[in-house]
């Protein structure tokens, strides 16, 4: 009798878990979506990225880490906005990232149109602590979205860990962006997986670097959406990703621009270090 009771309890628990399990293993991605602002991307993904999901972002190379973090912060900001209240972002960063790309800088956030007062920075030592921060943050109803930045390969990023994070995001109904640099993609439970690279910006007058531009390649989607690559700019005023201006938009960076603003290296050139 007791045994039967216990098993019926377990069954009940299993039933309660079923929808969440379906979400992490199946194709249905519930919990709403948030738009990136880039129409071609949002259309391709059927309205945007899953709001209650884990998204894996891989920097194309170490040097693309700032671009990947910028992309993740922009997306996370939009996800937090989509929750309807002024909920803050939690930004976790491991020691490796801080060593390689420096510490987050408030004025830089403000320059992206992201209010630094609404970002809580959590600096941790290693990947394990970083994942702990992710789970802890998702457990708080006050959090809008979470961005985690990690540097290098680590065994901590296992399939199990990925499933836990995906489940936590699903349960919380919040977005978690896991940004990894200096690491190759590993199997995971993320709804989408991206490879992010810095893209040449559309130059301004006198050949000045333009607005932040990023090349984001969707390399895997749990819903089976076909891989595709987009180049986009970040619009500070709209806090939105937009298509780059037509003239300069393109996959190929154009060294020809250089001649427009700078004279060829010549007499006046000096070396210093």
């Amino acid at each position: 009798m007791r045994n039967k009771l216990a098993s019926s309890d377990q069954l009940e628990a299993l039933r309660a878990l079923a929808p969440a399990l379906a979400a992490t293993s199946g194709h249905d991605v519930g919990g709403g979506r948030f738009a990136t602002g880039l129409a071609s991307l949002d259309d391709h993904l059927g309205g945007g990225l899953g709001a209650a999901s884990l998204h894996d972002l891989y920097a194309g190379a170490g040097g693309d880490a700032p671009a990947a973090l910028g992309f993740a912060l922009g997306l996370a900001w939009r996800a937090a906005q989509a929750t309807g209240e002024r909920r803050p972002l939690i930004w976790g960063l491991d020691e490796g990232s801080r060593r390689e790309i420096g510490r987050p800088y408030g004025p830089g956030l403000a320059e992206l149109g992201l209010d630094p007062e609404r970002v809580l920075l959590v600096e941790v030592r290693d990947a394990a602590a970083l994942l702990g921060v992710g789970e802890e943050a998702l457990a708080s109803p006050a959090v809008g979205a979470v961005v985690l930045g990690a540097w290098g390969e680590s065994k901590v990023f296992s399939l199990t860990a990925s499933r836990r994070l995906a489940m936590a995001a699903r349960t919380a109904g919040r977005t978690l962006m896991l940004v990894r640099a200096g690491a190759d993609p590993t199997p995971g439970a993320a709804e989408t997986r991206w490879r992010v690279r810095a893209a040449s910006s559309a130059p301004l007058e006198a050949g000045a670097p333009g607005h932040p531009a990023v090349e984001a390649a969707l390399i895997r989607h749990r819903g089976g959406v076909a891989p595709r690559t987009w180049i986009m700019e970040w619009d500070r005023e709209q806090r939105s990703f937009i298509a780059p201006p037509p003239l300069s938009g393109g996959l190929v960076s154009r060294p020809a621009d250089r001649a427009g603003h700078a004279s060829a290296p010549g007499e006046g050139l000096r070396r210093a270090g």
């Binding site: 700032p66 800088y105 403000a110 910006s201 670097p209 960076s253 210093a272």
Partner: protein, 482 residues
Amino acid sequence: MLVDKDRGALRITAADVTAQRAGLEPGLALADAQARVPTLEAWPHQPGEDDAFLTRLLEDFGRFTPMIARDAPHGLMLDVTGCAHLFGGEAGLMKQVAVRADALGLTTRLALAPTSQAARALARFGNGGRFGRAEARAAVRALSVEALELDPRDATALKRAGLKRIGDLDDRPRAPLAARFGADFPQRLARILSEADIRITPHRPPPPCVHDRRLVEPITETADIERVLGDLLAETTVWLERNGQGGRAFQAGFWRVDGQVRRVTVRTGRPTRDAAAVLRLFREKLAALPAPLDPGFGFDQLRLAVPLIAPLIERQARLQAGGAGLLDPETPDLAPLIDRLTARLGEAAVLRFRSQGSHLPERAAVLVGAEEAGEGVAWPQPAPDDPPSRPLQLFVPPQPVEAVAEAPDGHPFRFRWRRVVHDVARAEGPERIAGEWWRSRTQRTRDYYRVEDREGRRFWLFRQGQYGDAEGPRWFIHGLFP
């Protein structure tokens, strides 16, 4: 027996009971002592060790009362007002103190009196014991005038005048005594006679709210420790509620059977009396301690103190307050998350950005603890339509790079950073930022450039110094743009 060098000879500074029975008193030269007792054992006196031991002792005896102080040169003063009932009355308390001291191998003399100075006199110059107000007065009157701890010359003068006991002085008018021995003399007399009291200055300021649990059986298991902490927190919550206060810091003290004391403090961003939340913080903190809590043979006393209290403002009141940002009353409450992360990772790990209004990039904004009070200045608004002029990530300090640039103030064409050569495709600059000359004369002016390499990566570089300077210009990378 301990000896130390004094006036050119090794002299006894401390002698145990056996030595004192043999007539060896502090002050005696070691050579004389050895002549009298050839078998004596002497060690060099180490005042630092004494001091450290007394401090450990102080922590341990803090279990009896938080109002505890060192009583120079080698005593402890405990203010047990309102504590005795916890230990079975005054007699029970004294017994427990004696048992504890005995277990530590100490030779002690205890006195319990209505005032601290009377107790001191009775312990040091009498035989100790427990005294009520009237008894204390009588006992002190019987003490030698040395108990006043006067200058030796004054003590001798008193004795020569035939005033040998405190009682002799007490019977005389005080004014002439003040005229002869100084204005504070009557005060001193009044204090040891329990006519006047002076507050002791405790070793640690006593927290406003303290709850203790003494355990008959020492505990070692984490589950037991948490249960006791939970009980103490429940009592604390009742106290806080009754006083309309919330705690901003909670300190748990763990007294080990062998006298070791460990204290663990958790802090909260806002005053709280949520026992469950505080217990969770303790759980996190105890799990994350760099040196784990070692129960040894068990803890026999736990104390929960609230060193920092503040009026607990209810949620409703907060809604009327203005403000923005992380602790914005209109956003859902982030404080519990901040507390949990802080307990787990430490205060230095949970940070927020604060604008400082300096034009020098590394001082323009700082990262401060998320719970640190104080508002920064407003964040500078970026110029519309301009791309970011400040990087998302900053190197502090800036990292040196090798750069090739056009003199005198052209942007770099090429630079090498971390052994990788970057060819500059786009650049803007210079933005000249002068050093803060009022802080440091050596800070030099910097010329900043935003550059983008052929792969689309954006960097913030600066040149310090000019071409043609004696030192020449040096290039640095200060930050990275997304």
